[in-house]
């Protein structure tokens, strides 16, 4: 049996839509129903993100091209030093999400974060952001280099580490096999998929697709990874908006289920999702 996170409920806030804990200020959510809150991906250097406009929603999907706007390692360290991280973690367990623009950046930020990784129950590595030119999705293109990176990160930390995988760099179960064989504890499947839409002003918008349209694809990914790897810890991500979908993801092999875009519709759905699992 692989290591497990033992969350109080299997409901997890996805990296990105939940920012750096802002939803903890919304009074309609009972956080005892939420198992963990993943922070937005932090990279070594701060990123100011892509040029606006950055986001559109249709009835079935959202497209975003945020471009990993984040305060960088220094910003994260500040949140640790000023007590923000402790304060958030006292309400809900936190998962740290890390990203990078290159092999060295992933390793470097891991080293830098080591002194305070015990404040987080796990570290998720974003290998699948479609909205940045380097790093993100593109880090997995060279399979051998990516494998070396997984190995390098594993030797840097004993933390519970999770690889967040997309489906655009090969069969997701094959990617998960590589993650597992390098001694990692879990995978999050999936991330947004590259999408295109024409907005109401006639502009072509390229970005990552999230929301309801993603659900069956994410469910299949969970199913395939579980079939290939009975022991790996799986966080499901993609288009989960209702308690039935949480149950279905768990039934097909997820250990936890993350909620992202659904927060924008009504964050109080977390209560309905978490209720049946809380002890």
């Amino acid at each position: 049996m692989g290591k497990a996170l033992n969350l109080r409920t299997p409901i997890v806030i996805a990296s990105g839509p939940g920012g750096f804990g802002e939803y903890l200020n919304v009074s309609s959510v009972d956080w005892s129903y939420v198992g963990a809150y993943t922070l937005k991906t932090v990279t070594l250097n701060p990123k100011s993100g892509n040029k606006p406009p950055r986001m559109y929603a249709s009835k079935e999907f959202l497209i975003n091209r945020i471009g990993l706007e984040n305060p960088g390692f220094d910003g994260l360290r500040k949140m640790v030093e000023d007590g923000t991280i402790d304060k958030l973690a006292s309400i809900v367990p936190l998962i740290l999400s890390l990203g990078g623009d290159s092999f060295d950046e992933y390793v470097e930020i891991t080293k830098l974060c080591r002194p305070f990784l015990d404040k987080f129950i796990a570290v998720e590595y974003n290998f699948s952001c479609p909205n940045v030119h380097h790093g993100g999705l593109s880090i997995m293109v060279d399979r051998e280099e990516w494998r070396r990176l997984l190995k390098a990160i594993r030797t840097e930390t004993d933390a519970f580490i999770i690889a967040k995988l997309g489906i655009e760099s090969g069969f997701v179960e094959e990617m998960a096999r590589i993650v597992s064989s390098e001694g990692w504890d879990g995978v999050t499947v999936i991330n947004t998929i590259r999408g295109l839409m024409v907005n109401s002003e006639g502009q072509t918008v390229l970005g990552g697709l999230s929301g309801p349209a993603l659900y069956p694809i994410a469910l299949r990914a969970v199913y395939e990874v579980r079939k290939a790897l009975p022991d790996i810890y799986i966080i499901a991500s993609g288009g989960v908006y209702a308690p039935e979908q949480v149950r279905e993801m768990l039934r097909f092999g997820a250990n936890a289920v993350s909620v992202g875009s659904a927060l924008f519709h009504d964050e109080s759905v977390l209560n309905e999702m978490g209720k049946e699992f809380s002890r």
């Binding site: 750096f20 802002e22 009074s27 406009p53 945020i66 109401s200 309801p212 927060l263 519709h265 009504d266």
Partner: protein, 237 residues
């Protein structure tokens, strides 16, 4: 670089019951609610549209006769739902920063889609209100409120010229992006404030989707605004 401090605030989700829905002009409505809630001039709310859309929609807040009001232009399924439903609306509020002008020697210019906010600012700061509309306002509205209205683009440009030469120190403009940009460019003598209407998904600073390019780098309409100095967004010529 944008700021990342997490504000020490509570955002509440309210269920608001409609009191009245009045047509302001073509496809634009003034909705007032039975409940009141605490907010400051310039702040906004995010309204849930149930099955009609995936994200809440942002609206600036106003207060009419002691209760909360918003104005809504029907632009798609979500706004249509907000206007037509008889169900209570799930509303996250109050969001964004209060508008705090340096003095009370100002004026407010709004499009019909921001009338609730305009009425509130005008009453709160005791300053004149101008409504710039594409088409005439409904009888129901003009009989209920005393409004200075200009109709059409030419009327709007004449108003801007007048205001540019007026005694006011500042002008607050809330409407479409085009209307706000015109105001900034055509009132070079004045300090112009604009209330931005960027697409918003969360309204609370989490998603980074509402980014705006300013003279001082990327900012976020929901947490740094929604009110900005016009010359921070558009250069004057």
């Amino acid at each position: 670089m944008a700021s990342f401090s997490i504000k020490n605030v509570k955002y509440n989700a309210y269920l608001l019951t409609k009191k009245s829905t009045i047509e302001i002009t073509d496809r634009t409505y003034l909705i007032s609610f039975q409940e009141d809630l605490e907010f400051s001039p310039g702040q906004f709310c995010m309204v849930n549209v149930d099955g009609a859309g995936l994200t809440r929609k942002p609206f600036t807040l106003g207060r009419i006769e002691g209760t909360v009001a918003i104005s809504v232009k029907i632009a798609g399924k979500g706004s249509e739902y907000i206007v037509k439903t008889s169900e209570r609306l799930n509303v996250l509020a109050p969001l964004g920063n209060a508008f705090v002008p340096e003095n009370r020697n100002g004026a407010v210019v709004v499009a019909p889609s921001c009338l609730a906010e305009g009425l509130h600012l005008s009453e709160h700061f005791k300053i004149p209100l101008f409504v710039a509309s594409k088409s005439a306002l409904s009888r129901e509205i003009t009989s209920q409120f005393e409004l200075n209205t200009v109709v059409g683009n030419d009327g709007y440009l004449r108003l801007l010229e007048e205001l540019n030469n007026s005694r006011f120190d500042w002008i607050f403009v809330s409407g479409s992006r085009i209307m706000e940009e015109l105001a900034v460019r055509n009132m070079p003598n004045k300090l112009v404030y604009v209330s931005l209407n960027e697409y918003m998904a969360c309204g609370i600073g989490a998603c980074k989707g509402c980014a705006v390019e300013t003279m001082n780098g990327i900012k976020h309409a929901c947490t740094d605004g929604p009110v900005f100095r016009g010359d921070e967004i558009w250069a004057r010529h």
